[in-house]
Point group: C2
């Protein structure tokens, strides 16, 4: 795991760690680019590249002539590559995971199996189903599909139900050395079937969101497929081309 990382990535991580540790409170100013440049002993260009990532993720805001200010200690993005576990922890609540099942599935007809083709072609698949909860209240039903040939055997003990280790993204990276760097996601409205309704503690037929996500590796191959069912709302923030977080914050909820 000790790969050499580019400087900008290291600088980014160190800055982000400082942020999440609370070294820079929300609203405070970051040092100037020049100061950070000498602190980290890299050029201003490299500092800027690290800062760009922080800006695009919604941690800090930047204004010409004024500098960088902290707007959040955790990123607001909710997509299938952001960790539900981390998000819930940062919000101050406690996430838990109930492992529902681990199944090995051999698609009868690979051509019609409703998963990305190159994943199905790997042979037997593993399906891991988990119920994610926030403060013990059901929040999300997750099915993760992987090629068995890529990760070998998995056991229930590989999927902790509490703590930071319950993050499937971390489990896949750290226990099974799976990595990815892009994804494609679809969001659809569906009606809760009886199983989803029971697990999510809602009524059958209630409208819920289905998030279907494919994660791709560097070579463009599918690394895993995941679908999530959730009753709540998904938030995307500051996704403009030239991303820049707003100075003002919303004063009231969007939905009446």
């Amino acid at each position: 795991m000790q790969e050499t990382q580019p400087k900008y990535a290291l600088v980014y991580q160190r800055l982000r760690d400082k942020l999440t540790e609370g070294r820079f409170p929300v609203g405070s100013r970051l040092p100037t680019e020049e100061q950070m440049s000498s602190e980290f002993e890299v050029s201003r260009i490299t500092i800027r590249r690290a800062l760009e990532q922080l800006v695009s993720e919604g941690y800090v805001n930047r204004r010409q002539g004024s500098g960088y200010s902290v707007i959040a200690l955790s990123p607001p993005q909710q997509n299938c590559l952001s960790s539900f576990t981390d998000m819930v922890f940062r919000s101050g609540a406690t996430p838990t995971s109930r492992l529902l099942s681990i199944r090995e599935i051999v698609p009868a007809n690979p051509l019609t199996f409703p998963l990305p083709r190159d994943l199905v072609d790997h042979g037997p698949l593993l399906q891991i189903r988990r119920l994610r909860c926030i403060d013990d209240k059901p929040a999300m039903l997750v099915s993760t599909w992987l090629a068995k040939s890529e990760i070998g055997d998995v056991r229930p003990e590989d999927f902790p139900e509490t703590g930071t280790g319950q993050s499937i993204l971390r489990i896949l990276q750290e226990k099974f050395s799976l990595t990815w760097d892009a994804a494609c996601e679809e969001i659809s409205p569906i009606a809760a079937d009886s199983e989803a309704a029971q697990l999510l503690a809602i009524d059958v037929g209630m409208p819920i969101l289905k998030q279907a996500c494919i994660a791709f590796g560097k070579n463009g191959k599918t690394v895993f497929y995941e679908d999530l069912l959730r009753a709540g709302t998904i938030v995307f923030e500051s996704f403009a081309l030239r991303r820049q977080a707003p100075e003002s914050i919303m004063k009231r909820p969007l939905n009446d």
Copy 2:
């Protein structure tokens, strides 16, 4: 409108235009960075900045040692700042817009009105409701909210029902000089009420998506608020931190 733009933005536009005009077919290779550098008479750094945007938007893919290849002639992103009109045109279908109503609304109680506070504080609001269709089939019900003080009077003639001019984003920019550069979006599952069901030609109670979007100006102030109701699916692609579009393309639908 003739503001001076940075070089990288101009290069980006010229490259994107070449793409959308079909000068570089899908699958073809772009010239090398060095070649483009001399063609556009800018440094390699500047070329890279323009290319980065094309990569992050999903137009082209890049591979070290191999070069840039074209993967799409239009961006796959579907968010409230991407033009529905353009998306439909590029897919080969014909978009139309039915203007349902233009209303002036003075919130009785600004504190409880379910819109961003700084928008409500501007005084009277304009609400523009339109039904967007694809090949005359209803696809999306859109309500756009603006501060009347920012744009003055609007007339039905300002909202063409056909052609590229029907894009509300273009209308706001070109006819009313509104600009924005960031946004925040929420997606929720709801059940279609009788009005939405009738307009979208679906059954009452069917699950649909509600997209609520706030667009922010450079100063962080809300420029407009928009909510969309749609029965279909929303797609987000290649939104990883280090964005990189996959080489392989999905072979089958995500939903069974």
